[in-house]
Amino acid sequence: MNQADVTKLVSKLRIKVPDQHRRLRSPKGPEGRLDKLRKTVTGLIKFERIELNHHRADEARQYAERLISEAILHGDCHKPTMEIADYWLLEKELLHKLFKVLVPRFENSNTAFTKMYKAPKASSGRNIDKAILELRGNPYPLLTNKHSNNRYLLQNVLLDAAKYEYRQAKYAEMADKIGKNEEISQPKSDDVAKSKPINEV
């Protein structure tokens, strides 16, 4: 069986890929669609976080993922990969960024290279869905709240205080009970103690 391992030849994307591509209508036809996507991929690599229409973002994301995974798989000495990168990146200084910044960043990661969020909707009107597309490991502030496990999150501080109070109250109650039990048991012993001396007397 001298067959090549197909999984090592083709880069497998780590995101869900729909079975049909979107058309992204343009007067130029399919060529215009690719032009649009090239612009978006270039912008994504350049700015690392962009906001755009959901359809276009989702479509461009697949191409960006593929581009980065090809770059990781083959490196910058592989001619076809370089040609692909040259086609997809309209600003040529980004070719350096792809191979010198993004490849080392994502080399050892086992998740997708990009992240996509749904942007907040305007409260009124019929608006197109927007999305925020970003590269992982960017220097910008986080988009999602990841503080839920943070000890210092206000909710957690309040919950901790409430728990502490509850526990203190319970302890006090238990202490009272123990005290009462002793009081109840003590008189018996007193009687015994009292009776004893009487007997003795």
């Binding site: 080392p104 749904k118 910008y140 503080h147």
Partner: protein, 196 residues
């Protein structure tokens, strides 16, 4: 008796006819009938100006709209655009700021802050690194009064440091109980009151 009178009348008619023919008159049968009639006025030619005059003419519906169409105009269609107000059940409270937002979407209030900060950092990076030179360095953002995190020297290879000339926004810090960005003021100015 009647027939005699009739006969006589016939004879007289014949005599009259013959006498008139002798004098060259045409026979009475050929005389033209003439009826006295009032002449009707000729109807005027109809023009649209007679109706409109100085005003303007608007297009008006010719036919009545069907019930279905009227209802669809009023309420929309549930499959396409439903115009009625329906309560949303997918609204939740943001964990960090307490504003409401739709489930599955980013909180709008938080995102506004993040967006502005992101834009600022992006501009700064573009200003420092993005002048058509090949981009070969990863970027680390530092705010005022922050030191580089302690890492081995290899970690810093191929990284560029971007300094934001301001304090780190409070919401962007890892420790939420960190000092606020606003310094306690030492000025003893008192704001004037009762001006108006």
């Amino acid at each position: 008796m009647i027939s005699r009178v009739h006969q006589l009348k016939k004879i007289l008619n014949n005599v009259e006819k013959n006498v008139l023919q002798i004098f060259g008159f045409p026979p009475r049968e050929l005389a033209m009938a003439y009826t006295l009639e009032k002449r009707l006025p000729q109807p005027k030619k109809f023009t649209i100006k007679d109706i409109v005059g100085d005003g303007i003419l608007l297009a008006v519906p010719k036919f009545r709209r069907t019930v279905e169409k009227r209802l669809k105009r009023k309420f929309g269609s549930p499959d396409y655009v439903w115009k009625m107000l329906i309560p949303k059940t997918n609204i939740i409270v943001c964990n960090s700021c307490g504003h409401y937002h739709e489930r599955g979407y980013i909180c709008g209030h938080c995102y506004k802050k993040v967006e502005a900060e992101t834009k600022e950092i992006q501009d700064k990076i573009q200003e420092k690194l993005g002048n058509l030179k090949p981009i070969e360095n990863d970027v680390i953002v530092l705010y005022n009064g922050e030191n580089l995190p302690e890492q081995p020297k290899e970690f810093w290879q191929g990284k560029r440091i971007i300094e934001m000339k301001k304090d780190r926004p409070q919401w962007f810090s890892k420790n939420l109980l960190q000092k606020s960005t606003q310094q306690p003021s030492e000025s003893k100015d008192v704001k004037p009151t009762d001006l108006a």
